[in-house]
Symmetry: C2
Subunit: 402 residues, 2 copies
Amino acid sequence: MSKIKFTIEKKLPGKLGRAGTIETPHGVIKTPSFVTVGTKATVKGLTTEQIVESGAQVVLANTYHLYLQPGQKAVRQAGGLNKMMDWHGPTMTDSGGFQVFSLGAAYGKNISKFAKGEEEAAIAAPHRLKRQDDEIIKIAKIDADGVMFRSNIDGSAHYFTPEKSIEIQHDIGADIIFAFDECTSPSEPYNYQAEALDRTHRWAKRSLDHHKKNGSPCALFGIVQGGRYENLRKESAAAISAMDFDGFGIGGSFAKEDMTTAVEWVNSVLPEEKPRHLLGIGEPEDLFGAVENGCDLFDCVAPTRLGRTGTFYTKRGKINILNSKYRNNLDPVDDDCGCYTCKNFTKAYVAHLFRAEEMLGCVLGSIHNLYFINHLVMKMRQTIIDGNFSEFKESFLREYGN
Amino acid sequence: MSKIKFTIEKKLPGKLGRAGTIETPHGVIKTPSFVTVGTKATVKGLTTEQIVESGAQVVLANTYHLYLQPGQKAVRQAGGLNKMMDWHGPTMTDSGGFQVFSLGAAYGKNISKFAKGEEEAAIAAPHRLKRQDDEIIKIAKIDADGVMFRSNIDGSAHYFTPEKSIEIQHDIGADIIFAFDECTSPSEPYNYQAEALDRTHRWAKRSLDHHKKNGSPCALFGIVQGGRYENLRKESAAAISAMDFDGFGIGGSFAKEDMTTAVEWVNSVLPEEKPRHLLGIGEPEDLFGAVENGCDLFDCVAPTRLGRTGTFYTKRGKINILNSKYRNNLDPVDDDCGCYTCKNFTKAYVAHLFRAEEMLGCVLGSIHNLYFINHLVMKMRQTIIDGNFSEFKESFLREYGN
């Protein structure tokens, strides 16, 4: 029996989208919901109260990072992820698959959520890896059983199998965990994508078997892959649906313009009664497509990463707070935003913090961007329920695109 | 008429120490009180609520830094320091004298609050100044009228006079401001100290005249200097007392073991009925000596700077959270500390944040250390009122020294 309960409240007429709830051991997630990323068991710079006030319902930590630091046993000893980081709501961990490939085995191979985009450079080539060289790529190795990879901290060698990923995730103890998958680069040819997909499906089965054998209180989501190919995406959705997962992740790299299409292929095959998480997507324009096409959850580092570097979401699009025109601007970042940053500070002050390289700038930026995205998705949910999602989408994107 | 009102509630028998209150335009400071440093109009990484919860009563910003960035006119346009940084309590600015000498004119001359100590390296030689060379020291110049110095941001040349410092401080608009002084290095010979002291007294008079002429709502404190010399310290206390200041700052560099003696010299001369601020002192062991010898206010970057780098105050002395023995320690940083950090997190988690170079570690460290120091000084105040200060001092320092 599933450890979570998904209920659909309202569907979007003629579309795959829906509003619902996911009941987890740590509380209810009202969907669609943005999932706040807390990679290393911390939402960078924010306290629990600040995360709650941003409207966050659920926090996702990372298996790869917590395995390396402080180690999953340390998390378990601390009473699990929730207790360790003092987060009282629902939690998730991703399987480490994406990081193993992007930070480890596939370093240099241009693995990213999007084929092009500002996220890519940072994810595909974090500065810490610059000291690593081609030799390591040759050493990193995928075999039928799992993946050998190098730590992004000290270059030490590690080996992940589906069983290992599940065991680590059980130790971390989030409410919802993911099967171990291979996240391919969009630059790989069809034959490689097909071969990797078979591996992902075998690993999904092994993840599920190991999860059931070990009797964890977590819910387990299987991950659908298949790159940009309709037949592979649909094949993958069918294969993963056939297994007894509690929900689904949709993984892989997308060309930005193909994302919505790929999601629609997948969600038209996945069973309606289980929740679907689109992995690593979080820009406003993408979220509308994902929600409309039946995704319930989405995580993305963009809101916090952009916030830490001075890029703020506003209803009229993203702004760089360091633009000289904001130097003496005494208005809030976004006129009618209700976040802590906008209620208490001016653009001029926030810009001063970034110019002075003051940490509070990063904190205020993260708070604002999380609030913006969380409330945007909440509004999408409300308009699905109220029956005016399309109108909201159109009016939001018209103003946002300006 | 003074813009602040100082009232003594209780004196320490046979000593200069006292508990009292300072009423300011932004509220009452119960003294003795630690003054939280918010150099660039931000207490690094902390929100207003976090500063309040740490027990902070008053925040001190820096004239030198705000003059350079964002500029005092920008602070004025924003409605002044309080409004700009969303701090609703009392505020202070120091005159910029110390920074002009330590970051500007006297760069390389080893200006610091203590002749030796961990604070020194960071203050006397901030990394940003490494690109500056001896040429700049030669260019920097003190004359009878003021000081020419170089910006620590871009090396540009600036000139501060007492009048200029007062004007900048009026624009920033704190409740309590300081006269412009020359902060000498303890390594300077007696003759130089005496000459600099004369300059400081002339500058005090000019600061006061300009302040009165411009009719600001701020209170102005004069600064006593005089290095380690009893006659100079007493002469300075007498000269500054003879002017119509609202209170006093005690400035200069000290040998750690001489600090209490120098404070006693000065406070035995200063009039009892005005408040005294010991500039740049904040380690627990020093605070007892300062309070006992009649200081009412103290500011120091140590609690936040140490907190950001993983050194935490505890009742048993300072600890480095990165010590391997804390790696799996599930106790709070300090057993019966009531701060947010200690109430919600373990040493192991805080250590993980520092190992992972996570910003939240700096935030939690600053919160804990500020709470520790603020509450230590509050306890000193309470024991002065209750008549058991000496017992508290002895028992605290016995445990702290372990």
